[in-house]
């Protein structure tokens, strides 16, 4: 994990600040940093989004491919997550250095989406037992400044919203062989319903309080954090304690409550923003990577 060295005095300064609900960058304990979202940034993907949250930069590309459904669920498609910690973000990730973090992040993503209502996987089915859409969700960390989980989940939601899967037509010949025909009209495509896609809120325990959207500096002051993924209705789809410390049961309950409240508030503005961006259509000026 990308870490920073923090001196004892600096730690005390940060912890006292958090105690008084004032963080180093002037935020309150439940405030996010400035966030920028842009969708449709990579033309070769079926859906993509770039999210920058403070100094954390994340790019998500989604590619849809036709695959074979899993034998246990023949009438559903599936998602594959892969998180790449590029050495661009920090030299620590060079070679196999980022692998451990990447596996941890992608495993948590599988957990977050491990339920029936997050995404309608049945809509990804083309022909039960034979063909289905496989969505490869590839996450690239371009810059790390803490709170990777939250930024990642928002980027994934935006990219899924942006995803357009071409419609397919199955034709059968006389011998019973099936053939898949892809619609060649680029506007004849299927959209995903992302309403129930959860967002992750990570809460860092600092002193006796917890903060949302911790920077790397703040993260270095905390021993344990709690990851909560929340849908727009307030349903919790995944909880996980991260880090080497332990937490008091009461503080866990407080943190889940805060997580649910904060998480619920993220969804409405996010959807509004995505819809607004889409309504601009082709006239939208693309910002790209040099924002």
């Amino acid at each position: 994990m990308a870490t920073v060295q923090v001196g004892e005095a600096e730690k005390v300064y940060i912890m006292h600040g958090v105690r008084d609900d004032l963080r180093v960058d002037g935020r309150g304990c439940e405030d996010y940093r400035h966030m920028e979202i842009e969708t449709d940034v990579v033309s070769n993907t079926d859906g993509s989004a770039k999210v920058s949250l403070g100094q954390t930069d994340i790019l998500v590309g989604i590619k849809a491919e036709i695959g074979k459904p899993k034998p246990m669920v023949p009438d559903e498609g599936y998602l594959e997550f892969f998180v790449d910690c590029s050495a661009n973000a920090t030299p620590e990730f060079e070679g196999r250095g980022g692998e451990e973090l990447g596996v941890e992040l992608s495993n948590n993503l599988y957990k977050v989406f491990n339920n029936k209502h997050s995404l309608d996987l049945r809509s990804l089915c083309i022909c039960p037992g034979e063909h289905c859409w496989v969505l490869y969700v590839d996450v690239l960390l371009l810059q790390c400044d803490g709170n990777l989980f939250d930024a990642m989940s928002i980027a994934i939601k935006a990219a899924l919203f942006n995803t357009r899967i071409p419609k397919v037509h199955i034709s059968e010949d006389e011998e019973g062989g099936k053939e898949i025909e892809l619609s060649d009209d680029p506007y004849d495509c299927m959209r995903l319903n992302v309403e129930n896609v959860p967002c992750i809120v990570t809460l860092c325990k600092i002193g006796h309080r917890h903060v949302v959207d911790a920077t790397l500096l703040e993260k270095a002051c905390s021993v344990a954090s709690l990851l909560i993924s929340v849908t727009h209705k307030g349903t919790v789809t995944c909880v996980r304690k991260l880090g080497g410390g332990s937490l008091d049961p009461d503080s866990i309950f407080e943190m889940t409550e805060t997580g649910k409240r904060v998480g619920k508030m993220v969804h409405a503005p996010l959807m509004e923003l995505l819809q607004k961006e889409e309504s601009l259509g082709r006239e939208r000026t693309k910002v790209g990577f040099l924002a």
């Binding site: 339920n115 919790v236 332990s246 866990i252």
Partner: protein, 272 residues
């Protein structure tokens, strides 16, 4: 190479015959079964059998059985750390390796560790770390190897308990034992310590999920928490509380097993 056309060749990828069961017998609903196996109440844990010190080569080891779930754990070390590039050398490292034996689940697994096992290894390490006094072992690492011999549900929870017993048996200094408890929520039903059928049962309910809690009983601290599925906040909170209670119920058995191992080790040499 000549191809033998006479012989019927099997499929390239082998599959478990369980897949070809008629669909209605495959899905066992959690809610449809009124009672649990062995006349167990919803809040009851399975009877636990635990022993320390069965692997003589290891510094410490433990074996744990809960229903059909069987777990073996051995602890090696403290020894010099392999990775010297780590910045934090002031405290020791706890290296956990969680493995499901290939034959432990209904479907055969591979010998090499898959993503799920790696995820469970990290979860195990995160749960055990707060319990061990790692600052007492600078520049050292302690290896914890867990093998699930038979998986009949709640494997992670019992692995945590088993590993902390093995750590205690190895004489690693600890703040407290770490106890694990799992729970399966399905609508309003709370099944503590679920077996594999209960754990994996399909449920399309709006409020369902799996929770695993690791607890330091004397310090009353939660060292590990994992949940997935879809749960309302209030039922999640209730589930965590139920799990904490379940952990406390394990404590006497674990304590007794550790005590027994200590007495055995410290027994005076028989006098002639």
């Amino acid at each position: 190479m000549p191809v033998d056309n006479k012989r019927v060749r099997g499929p390239e990828i082998s599959q478990s015959p369980l897949l070809f069961l008629p669909p209605d017998s495959q899905i066992s609903k959690v809610s449809s079964s009124s009672g649990r196996q062995g006349a167990r109440g919803n809040g009851d844990i399975r009877p636990l059998f635990a022993r320390c010190g069965l692997v003589s080569q290891a510094k410490g080891s433990a074996y744990l059985e809960a229903g059909n779930t069987k777990i073996i754990c051995s602890v090696y070390g403290p020894r010099e750390t392999e990775r010297k590039d780590e910045t934090d050398m002031k405290s020791g490292r706890l290296v956990c390796d969680f493995r499901l034996a290939p034959f432990s689940c209904p479907k055969r697994g591979a010998w090499i560790q898959n993503a799920e096992e790696r995820d469970l290894s990290t979860a195990l390490a995160e749960s055990l770390q707060p319990g061990a006094c790692l600052h007492r072992y600078p520049r050292a690492q302690v290896d914890v190897n867990v093998v699930v011999l038979e998986n009949d549900g709640s494997a992670l929870a019992h692995a945590v308990t088993c590993a902390s017993m093995a750590l205690a048996d190895a004489g690693i200094e600890m703040y407290d034992t770490v106890l694990g408890c799992a729970l399966r929520q399905d609508e309003e039903r709370c099944l503590v310590d679920p077996d594999l059928a209960e754990e994996r049962a399909e449920s399309s309910a709006e409020n369902q999920g799996r929770v695993v809690v690791a607890l330091l009983p004397n310090l009353n601290q939660i060292s590990g928490l994992q949940a997935d599925g879809e749960m309302r906040e209030d039922s999640l909170t209730a589930a965590v509380r139920t799990c904490v209670e379940g952990c406390h119920r394990l404590y006497p058995v674990v304590q007794q097993a550790i005590l027994r191992a200590v007495k055995k080790k410290a027994a005076p040499p028989p006098e002639k």
